[in-house]
């Protein structure tokens, strides 16, 4: 029977090509979008955790309220003791200090006066301690464009785009003009060790990275830090565990009103990340649903046209005694077969395109000028085992639904009138 149907599909292409192409297109887009979403979820989580928020973040309550403005005057103090507490209370996690800061980077001319200058958004992390996990977390070796990583105090990394705009090369001097945590003016000389490109718009436009000790000294933040980031030892974000940790930590200070007490927040509580995580979680289902609905409507319509074209054929089959249910199921089987073929072809194409994105990627930096969370500027995808079957879900369900609805007309045919219809 299946062989008979398959022959019919191949020989009568008028009945199979259009539904096949629709299923192919739907499966292709489903697979491609699924792989893209999977990669984006991984990248957005990783970038936001490693570069900005950690899996959990400890700040003062006052700092947390105004975190978007990087209020270093409200930073945590005596952070060494605080980190010891955190290490003892939460084994399986490691903790790093970060300082985010803003300012003006000024490039001197030969007289020591301003040649060029530009606003910068900086991040200070422990780059020089031999045991520091920061170079690995920030993947600094991968993002170096020119020059090298800082090797001694007083060296910074500058975004390559900013370096080109300011007309500076690695090895040249730059002065950071900023504010200390007490609000005083801070002017500090640095040497540009290298230039970097993260592939993240927010960092690449005006970012600088400096060693924590240098910035603590420049901003008068001895044993102070704006943020203490906590990472799981396996570097994976465990949402439930992070929430439980934050709850336990914050409960210690419940009922106290001091705005400089520490508060712990999870990654998903930062910069609208919860909305992004929820969106990404449901996006795959939404994409499949949309494609399935659209394909069902198109295939229903195609099946209706096919039924009209095959009106005579179905009539003859019923007239020679074939059961209506049998005709109906054979048409559904035929559609499912088209669905399988279309889904297989669409999945193969989708996987091929996803593989290209996984390896090469597409640069979309121009579209990401004003986003507040860290998002990669190169579109990439990630092929997972589920990507091999996800295209079949809308492919088969849509063909089944489309034909099942359109084929209901078979049951409305009056057997008594078949010969009369066939005569005409």
């Amino acid at each position: 029977m299946m062989r008979f149907i398959l022959k019919g599909i191949i020989r009568d292409r008028a009945r199979s090509v259009f539904p096949f192409l629709i299923v192919l297109a739907g499966a292709f887009l489903t697979v491609l979008l699924f792989c893209y979403i999977k990669r984006m979820a991984v990248d957005v989580t990783k970038y936001n955790a490693n570069l900005r928020h950690g899996h959990v973040k400890v700040m003062t309550r006052a700092y947390a309220k105004e975190a978007d403005q990087v209020p270093n005057d409200l930073a945590s103090m005596n952070v060494s003791a605080l980190i010891k507490d955190l290490q003892a209370e939460f084994p399986g996690y490691f903790w790093t200090r970060r300082i985010e800061f803003g300012g003006l980077l000024d490039i001197p001319d030969e007289k020591g006066e301003t040649k060029t200058q530009g606003p910068v958004v900086g991040m200070a992390a422990d780059l020089l301690s031999p045991s520091s996990p920061e170079p690995k977390l920030l993947e600094l070796q991968k993002v170096i464009v020119r020059g090298r990583l800082p090797q001694k105090p007083g060296e910074i990394l500058l975004s390559d785009e900013l370096a080109r705009n300011l007309g500076v090369q690695p090895g040249e001097k730059a002065t950071l003009l900023s504010s200390t945590m007490h609000g005083s003016m801070s002017m500090t000389n640095f040497v540009i060790a290298g230039t970097i490109r993260f592939g993240i718009r927010a960092m690449d436009r005006m970012g600088i990275i400096a060693d924590l000790a240098d910035v603590q000294n420049a901003l008068d933040m001895e044993d102070a830090a704006g943020e203490i980031l906590g990472f799981a030892d396996d570097l994976l974000y465990h949402q439930e565990k992070s929430v439980a940790m934050a709850k336990a930590f914050n409960a210690r200070f419940q009922g106290q009103t001091d705005e400089f007490l520490p508060v712990m927040q999870t990654l998903s509580e930062q910069s609208g990340m919860e909305l992004i995580f929820t969106g990404l979680k449901y996006l795959t289902s939404i994409v499949i649903g949309i494609f399935m609905l659209a394909m069902s409507l198109v295939l229903w319509n195609a099946s209706l046209i096919g039924s009209l074209r095959r009106y005579g054929e179905i009539g003859v089959r019923l007239a020679i005694g074939e059961n209506k249910t049998h005709v109906y199921t054979s048409m559904i089987s035929e559609s499912l077969m088209i669905g399988v073929l279309g889904s297989a072809a669409g999945t193969a194409l989708g996987l091929a395109a996803s593989y290209y994105l996984q390896v090469k990627g597409i640069n979309i930096s121009g579209m990401l000028r004003n986003i507040t969370f860290l998002m990669p500027t190169v579109v990439r995808s990630r092929i997972t085992p589920f990507a091999f079957i996800i295209g079949f879900i809308p492919g088969l369900l849509a063909t089944f639904a489309g034909t099942a609805i359109a084929g209901l007309g078979i049951f409305k045919r009056q057997t008594a009138q078949l010969f009369k219809e066939l005569e005409t």
Partner: protein
């Protein structure tokens, strides 16, 4: 005699009565807003002056004081050297017209402050560089109207509402309280175009120095920040003193 006195009395009345009417009308009707502003500007913007002042910044965590000495020529040339505390000691600032430079001895660098940096706070105070750079002649920047009379610091004041005549002013509108007799500004509110209050100035004390009225203690507050604002206190002021031209130049920053 009697007649003579009567004539004199009549003559005196004839002369004094119209004058008293004129004075009473003047006392009830305010002078034009432009005139009030002009007098206030004249009082604020003078020739040369040297000021030793202390700025007390009330932060959310602590309070700190910064001492500085400024040499001011008119309203467009100012050289300031910070004297205390040790971290700020030796930092210098030079304002020449609409340009501003700062010098720090630690870096031996002279840096031009421009663009978005002008909106940043000066030494963590409630004052921005933009506030510091502002041309104090309000009459040139704002159209004024008198809206009432109030008492501030136990002094009768005209209340003026100022609206910007130009596009590139830091504050679209202001409300100022000007002492009716001394023409000294005793209170000020600065607003954005949206009507949002941005900064306030409350003069706490006015003193007489070399026949001029000087606001020697004032609190300047950024209304968008929490905290108690920044208190400015003039420890000494000298008017009309010669200031060497070499001091008001970029070269003097590194000396």
């Amino acid at each position: 005699m009697k007649r003579s006195f009567g004539v004199q009395y009549f003559l005196a009345l004839a002369l004094i009565w119209p004058a008293s009417i004129v004075f009473s009308v003047l006392a009830q009707n305010p002078p034009s807003a432009d005139l009030i502003l002009e007098r206030a500007d004249q009082n604020a913007v003078t020739g040369n002056k040297i000021i030793l002042s202390q700025m007390t910044i009330h932060g959310r965590r602590d309070t700190r004081s910064i001492k500085s000495k400024s040499w001011i020529q008119g309203n467009d040339k100012t050289f300031t050297e910070y004297l205390e505390p040790p971290r700020e000691k030796g930092i210098k600032m030079l304002k020449l017209g609409d340009q501003l430079w700062t010098y720090s001895p630690d870096t031996d660098r002279t840096i031009s402050i421009s663009g978005h940096m002008l909106r940043q706070s000066v030494m963590g105070s409630d004052l921005s560089y933009e506030d510091m750079m502002e041309d104090r002649e309000l009459r040139k920047l704002y159209a004024a109207r008198v809206t009432g009379e109030e008492t501030v610091l136990e002094r009768p004041c005209w209340v003026l509402e100022l609206t910007a005549k130009l596009e590139d002013v830091a504050y679209y509108s202001r409300k100022v309280w000007v002492d009716k007799e001394r023409y000294v500004l005793l209170k000020e509110e600065r607003y954005a175009k949206s009507g949002k209050l941005l900064k306030t100035l409350d003069v706490k004390s006015v003193t007489r120095v070399q026949n001029r009225w000087v606001q020697d203690v004032a609190v300047f507050k950024d209304a968008l920040k929490t905290g108690e604002g920044t208190e400015f206190k003039i420890e000494s002021i000298e008017f009309d003193v010669p200031i060497p031209e070499a001091l008001l130049s970029k070269a003097s920053l590194r000396k």
